[in-house]
Symmetry: C2
Subunit: 150 residues, 2 copies
């Protein structure tokens, strides 16, 4: 059970933009240096985020990337979704091994509700969190989440 590295790194990159207070856009190189990633990889991630409408690019000298909207309006769920699937069991029930072209449990699958409930919780949780929330110290955030969610 894991998130893809694109999702994790993408979240970090966009968080970089959210934390960047200056008016000037942030270049790919700056983000890459901050996160210790290669510029090529950061590039790729940002292109995906741009296609999802979460960041926008400014070309030319002094160009770079900025958030498309205020950090408060960008939920973690949106960021992760744009970089890959967020639901847990979804892909499995669509991939089938060899012999049949539909899930053996089509009619009655007792595993489905397990993923269902988890997905619902995960999605709700990630939708409530936005980049502004994440833009505070680890301890503050932890406290806030625990107060709010448990």
């Amino acid at each position: 059970m894991k998130i893809s590295s694109m999702q994790e790194y993408g979240l970090r990159c966009i968080l970089c933009l959210a934390a960047h207070k200056c008016d000037t856009p942030m270049t790919v190189r700056e983000i890459a240096e901050k996160e210790c990633l290669t510029t090529d990889y950061v590039e790729k991630i940002l292109v995906t985020l741009r296609h999802a409408g979460l960041v926008k690019s400014i070309r030319g000298v002094n160009g770079g990337y900025v958030l498309e909207m205020p950090s408060k309006e960008i939920s973690v769920a949106k960021v992760l979704e744009s970089l890959g699937p967020v639901e847990l069991g979804k892909s499995i029930c669509k991939r089938f091994s060899g012999e049949t072209d539909k899930c053996v449990h089509q009619g009655n699958c007792s595993i489905r509700p397990v993923w269902g409930v988890l997905n619902q919780f995960i999605y709700k949780f990630l939708s409530r969190l936005n980049l502004e929330n994440l833009n505070q110290s680890e301890n503050e955030l932890k406290a806030e989440i625990e107060r709010q969610c448990i």
Copy 2:
């Protein structure tokens, strides 16, 4: 965000064993047929489950696999854990990209609590569920989970 196919298929296979009421063990072939997987793949999965002490094998003619303990005592969490990681962000904070040998956010990572809370919820939830619970119709289970968990 996804579970590995080994985890999904492994859960299905051990669920097969749990649902198998006869005294005789179930052969790899029978499980494979029921789940529409190849015998080789089922084999591989069962070996893993055996190493985790969740099933035991009986060799020779009339052999096969049986649960190592009553289905009530086997939690879904244990099954999934034995087949791969269950925690979400764990592997990411240990994999690093290229340039440094430790996480850039070591000291103060606001993403960590996000995975932390999710992991805690997921783990609790999957620990409460056992194979006996799953061994009922989709609708019954769904009702039970929703009553209990939300």
